[in-house]
Subunit: 375 residues, 2 copies
């Protein structure tokens, strides 16, 4: 790693003038080729906030197919700091005004959008139009309409679009899905999940609906919703929801605190979800006719625990070993692999759209005080 | 115990003729006095079904204030069998036709109604009118109207009415309530509970609405509802519910399988409950702003496990030691103690009524597909 980084940094530093002229010189293309030869595709990280800098970027060191090729930020000091830390040459550091110039940088294969939700659609679409594959954080966008426009842009560009559902790459969640499909717990009957944390007034854009699209359900409850869908392996047909938000709490002037929802699925299974911005929760359980699969905690950054009850057998700990930052690195590696093998990634835009459509239905159900049918 | 049983049996056997004549002879009154002198009040067990004979009656041996004084059944063979097993003299064995004659038996202080739900109101009211205190199994009755009539009858007779909420006498549930009141988990935010079991076609009257009043929610989901109320210590103001029942399943022709409900409480806390007749569940968790109290399993006959997370402290096992059949014996002992001390028992008819009112609102919400406000 050190060798590669030093090399890229040295090459990059000397290329600033050439890049700024808009010409892609042979040396730069060479950097790209070298990166590809060692099996890594280049990511441009768009947005240098907490999640990007503390979770995503430190995970590249554990990846096999991915490297940080470029940074995009509106804050020059951040570009300076993280550019230096990750040996990203100044030629590969962009402002939002510069953003569309990524088109001309062959080192960038994938654009990872780690921005406030209100900016997901715009930067995903611009990245697709620049001919790049896109990884976009969850929740995918402010609305189902925006999600569809992102899918359309990626399709038009013939590029992949993947949503950052990290749990799909976490060994315990992967094992839980396999157990759910194995039939060991019998016919699926009830999925229940609670997800939440205590938001603070310092939670920034998350508490501003114009940037977040919504409150706890968009940010943390979505893990339970997504888990309901991947554990059950089907799509809900009806939802009812109750909003429980104290609007006098300064945290919740524009976004919901708790959203309690119940979903009906075609198989007859049901899901009940708690989403909260005022209490900590992180668990899910799929109960079948003959047992259950329990993940508690289910979707944290680390420390998942898995339990299986199947018939008379109750194994309180079937937790899988997990490597350092394995779910993050696995997510980063998956898209390059899918691209290289010409396969569709397992959490494409349609997956993000499905969650957003359901969340919109939850909000509508809570507001209209009636069940909402999903097509 | 053996000494007492032998004595009661010997006395009882010789008194049959006198009892049948309707006269309460001195000897019989003497039996009652002896029982009171050793600190035990006499229960008449009404209904010799599974729950009565397998859970309630074997628990008397662990009680301190209670004894089985009489049996009531429509099946002579059961009276014979359990009368012999528990040394209940033939004079103290009643048919349903005989039932009102309990009025004349001073050995009977309390009538424990362990019948199908459809018979709760009738036999509770007749017992009150016979001047007896009443213990009635949950769910209290078929409807809130019936519950109120039971309360009225007990009040008119100046006798106590208690509902068989055994968990209120189980050490872990008692400890969970104390923790909930202690403030250690901060302000209450979310209570979630799942309760259920896989009903079989052999489940008898439970699957016949005309005898049970309803399906899983009346029978097993009520544990979660009751726990929501005793853990939160307040009454819900609004409920929404979804019914998930496959009416082609021969088990569910007249009663619901799963009922999923969400309740809003005055403090701002919410509860989400799963009730099921097609999957096993038995847990609850109260989450506050600073932690949670987790009972998993929460309300089984035995084997409760309790976990406390409070701030940074996560004690995975704060389970309390539990004596044999302690919750059953504690319930049996509580009513005699309350009667003797002139205090109201802690789970009076109003407690059963509160649950039934909420369950009726759940059914209405599911049927009308809208939230229902509770007064």
């Amino acid at each position: 790693m050190v060798g590669r980084r030093q090399m890229v940094g040295a090459v990059g530093a000397g290329l600033a003038a050439a890049i700024l002229s808009g010409v892609a010189p042979a040396a730069l293309q060479g950097t790209g080729r070298r990166a590809r030869q060692d099996g890594r595709m280049g990511y441009a990280i768009v947005g240098l906030g907490n999640y990007g800098t503390r979770q995503i970027m430190p995970s590249f060191v554990h990846s096999r197919n991915a490297r940080i090729a470029a940074l995009v930020s509106g804050t020059p000091a951040k570009l300076e700091r993280y550019g230096a830390e990750y040996d990203v040459p100044t030629t590969h550091r962009y402002s939002y005004q510069d953003f569309d110039r990524i088109r001309d940088n062959p080192d960038i294969d994938i654009v990872y959008v780690v921005l406030p939700v209100s900016m997901h659609a715009e930067y995903s679409i611009r990245a697709s139009r620049a001919g790049k594959h896109v990884m976009c954080e969850k929740p995918m966008a402010m609305s189902a309409v925006e999600c569809q426009s992102m899918i359309d842009a990626a399709t038009a560009a013939d590029r992949q679009l993947m949503i950052g559902y990290r749990s799909r790459f976490e060994p315990n969640n992967i094992h839980a899905i396999a157990l759910a499909r194995s039939g060991r717990i019998g016919a699926h009957r009830v999925f229940d999940s609670q997800h939440g944390f205590a938001a603070s007034l310092q939670s920034g854009w998350r508490l501003d609906r114009s940037m977040s699209g919504g409150g706890s359900m968009m940010d943390i409850g979505i893990y339970g919703l997504n888990a309901a869908r991947y554990m059950l392996g089907e799509e809900p047909t009806e939802v009812i929801a109750m909003d429980a938000t104290d609007r006098t709490d300064p945290r919740f002037r524009t976004v919901e605190d708790r959203l309690l929802s119940t979903l009906r699925f075609p198989s007859g299974a049901v899901a009940q979800l708690v989403s909260s911005y005022s209490s900590h929760h992180n668990r899910y359980r799929l109960s079948g006719a003959d047992g259950f699969i329990d993940a508690d905690p289910g979707t944290p950054y680390e420390g998942q625990r898995l339990r299986l009850k199947a018939g008379d057998e109750d194994v309180r700990d079937v937790t899988r070993p997990v490597g350092p930052r394995e779910q993050f690195a696995g997510q980063l590696d998956h898209l390059p692999t899918a691209i290289r093998e010409g396969r569709r990634n397992i959490v494409p835009g349609e997956e993000g759209l499905a969650d957003i459509r359901i969340i919109e239905a939850m909000y509508r159900s809570a507001a209209e005080r009636q069940p909402v049918r999903l097509a």
